[in-house]
Subunit: 441 residues, 2 copies
């Protein structure tokens, strides 16, 4: 790794030493500040704020209909995820923060300049003010590079979204000890390090190309025009149906709420647990909360290949339980393989076997990152981009579509087009790995 990261690691180690914290798994029925509704229908904060865990009955319809029930996190408020950037010579530098989240594998990860729920910044829990927040609320100093409402994990969140922002300022701002300025090259290198750059950073960084991109640029060597891609997306939205209704937690088919946790007797998907958290470096020093703990490591992958010397990725029009508007553009594969282990091949997610066969594909990105540590406990995903060469042709199933990296990035600007898994994968390709592939061939 050619970037000099030693000063970063010095700072990061010190953050870990300076900040003491401790996480205990606790019973959902005994979480301070939280209550299970008397009829067992939902778990809510006593203030009515933050978020709740509810039961959801889901029915989707496309060619055939599927229905299932699951617990889901309901957090209707829109938070802000914002990164401040400034130009230093020919490079951009980013103001990042070391931040503890209880679900993080390494507890402290690299987060955006500002990562604040609305409860945070309106001071619901009477914590300290959020540094640099003034750069992300009107009328703000600096100029906006990227500003979009983006969805989060649709399998775990009901219609949740955050405002993703990148704001450029003329000069480096002075920052406290939990903050650090990193160059683009340093960030790109750190994005290849496991469980370090948190999900909130990765989704915001998917807007990074807009720092350098013209308002509109065309991509004439792409397989499909912008109009074709929009039509494919519109058609997928029209073809799918997504009907949802809230149902009590205690009677979700396939799930069991034993008082302490909500789990699936068949061991699939995830468990809802409670956590008691003690920290010295957060807005408040102690708190408790429910968290979602997946049963295994996820796989989030783009299948890619060259067409006309341009690297294309296979995008999936995907419906999840919490998707705000029926369908969003997702990676080729996004699943927890352990949930499908004993199923016949036909019931396994399409393309999963292909991306896991690393001997037959050319691996461009392969790094393990954490999902959001504020809600998800030890939720890791293996982020993969693989070049499958000519083993897949231009014709693909109707819920899939070939796009260039630039085309998918273009949709990121428009709210609720590209899902969080795909945005995080785009960030992992920020160092231009796809373009290099195209040039090398």
């Amino acid at each position: 790794m050619s970037e000099n990261l030693s000063s970063f690691y010095d700072w990061f180690s010190e953050r870990n030493i300076k900040n003491d914290y401790h996480i205990d798994i606790a019973s959902l029925s005994a979480l301070e500040g939280w209550k299970v509704d008397s009829d067992g229908s939902a778990i809510r904060h006593r203030s009515g704020k933050f978020f709740s865990i509810e039961g959801l009955s889901v029915e989707t319809q496309e060619m055939e209909s599927h229905s299932w029930s699951q617990p889901i996190i309901n957090q209707p408020e829109i938070g802000i995820l914002g990164i401040i950037v400034t130009k230093v010579g020919d490079s951009y530098h980013f103001l990042m923060q070391a931040k503890m989240e209880p679900g993080n594998i390494n507890l402290i990860q690299l987060s955006p300049t500002v990562q604040a729920t609305r409860s945070n910044y309106t001071r619901v829990h009477r914590g300290s003010a959020v540094p640099f927040l003034e750069h992300f609320v009107a009328a703000r100093p600096g100029s906006v590079v990227f500003d979009s409402l983006q969805s989060e994990q649709g399998s775990w969140f009901l219609g949740k979204r955050n405002r993703n922002m990148i704001v450029e300022v003329p000069d480096r701002l002075p920052a406290g000890e939990d903050f650090i300025w990193l160059s683009f090259e340093q960030i790109a290198a750190l994005l290849r390090v496991p469980n370090l750059v948190n999900m909130d950073s990765r989704t915001v960084l998917s807007g990074l190309p807009f720092l350098a991109m013209d308002d509109n640029s065309t991509d004439s060597s792409a397989v499909h025009s912008l109009g074709d891609l929009l039509s494919w997306f519109t058609e997928a939205k029209s073809r799918h149906r997504l009907d949802r209704r809230t149902v009590p937690l205690h009677s979700l088919p396939g799930w069991e709420f034993d008082g302490d946790k909500i789990l699936r007797p068949d061991g699939r998907h995830f468990t809802v647990i409670g956590a008691d958290v003690a920290a010295t470096n957060r807005e408040v020093a102690h708190w408790s909360q429910p968290m979602l703990r997946p049963i295994g490591r996820g796989v989030i992958a783009f299948v890619g290949r060259l067409f006309h010397d341009e690297f294309h990725i296979l995008v999936h029009a995907r419906t999840e339980a919490g998707t705000a508007d029926v369908v969003e553009m997702g990676p080729t594969v996004a699943c927890i393989p352990a949930s499908y282990e004993n199923l016949p091949r036909a019931e396994r997610p399409p393309f999963l076997d292909l991306v896991e066969q690393s001997d037959t594909v050319d691996v461009l990105v392969d790094v393990v990152h954490s999902e959001e540590g504020g809600r998800f406990f030890h939720a890791e995903s293996r982020y993969l981009v693989v070049d499958v060469g000519e083993s897949i042709g231009q014709q693909v199933p109707e819920n899939y579509c070939w796009m260039t990296v630039e085309q998918l990035t273009g949709f990121v600007r428009y709210s609720n087009h590209v899902n969080v898994a795909a945005r995080c994968l785009l960030s992992c390709m920020a160092d231009g790995v796809a373009e290099r592939t195209a040039v090398t061939r």
Copy 2:
């Protein structure tokens, strides 16, 4: 009017003669095929299909909160509004249809090639098949020019949207007597004729610039960049809240359901009425349905002016009762002035007085069109585009933003950005009236 329209008018008169129909106002409680729920909570079709009239309690919050209740049309299914186009020499020709809708001022208006609810094309009411539908469902012949999910009147429809499509075919298709091929120039001329080109045609025609536009084009003389406009829109969505819940029709504050109709004793907004319809040229020969009848003619207007020799229009970030995602981009003014007649100036819609003062503004577009005649009875709006010169500066209230016509058109491609009133106004400017203004100055 230089375009030769005599053959069009010959055809159109004949359509009127050949098609017999009759509309009677009827009591909501006695509509064949419809029932009022036993508790008076909603009016539904006995088949469970088509649409229902429900009560809605609405609370919006921005700087201050507003709440109100109203009847609203709930029609969750996505219909298709599609126009077939072909290139003839240097011009484009459009396949249009003469279609009767019970609410139309002149009963027959010019509609898209295909105008079909999902109930229509899945044959719920056992009518005849929809001609040309095969061009708008996958895998279709022809190439897609424009394909987007678009909202309809948010004040009257709950989250209703239709798929707007323009499909190009290589040659003129043979068409039955209710269809006609019209050139772009003829359509542009007819868009200046009152109550002739129906709303469904106008919203689809807002995608017309994509026939000739590059995938992405820039507009360097605009006041704001694309990034700025997206940020303004994101901020408006984040700032507004829109909470809704269904409430019984019979107990809507401010409304009275007398069994025959639902009306406001203060005479504002609209009335829900019943209609019995008999026609010889529709999928079925007789039917009854509820309809919404506004209390007066609406005003739908863009305030515009030149900046840097480029014509800009003042776009309003607007929340309506039925808006799918909190806010869409609307015209500067959209209201029924009669609803605000006796109110003090401060409670009248902003810019309404300005656009109605035709002596102080330069009128570029001024034409009366009908709203959708399938749901709205005699709903007319005066579509206005006025050049106000320098009477308004670059600084405007935060819910308003200056854009070029091309910039607003760019957002039309992306679903649920531009509302139906603004899209219909864009269609009325399809003849380039804004560019001519810029050149003349």
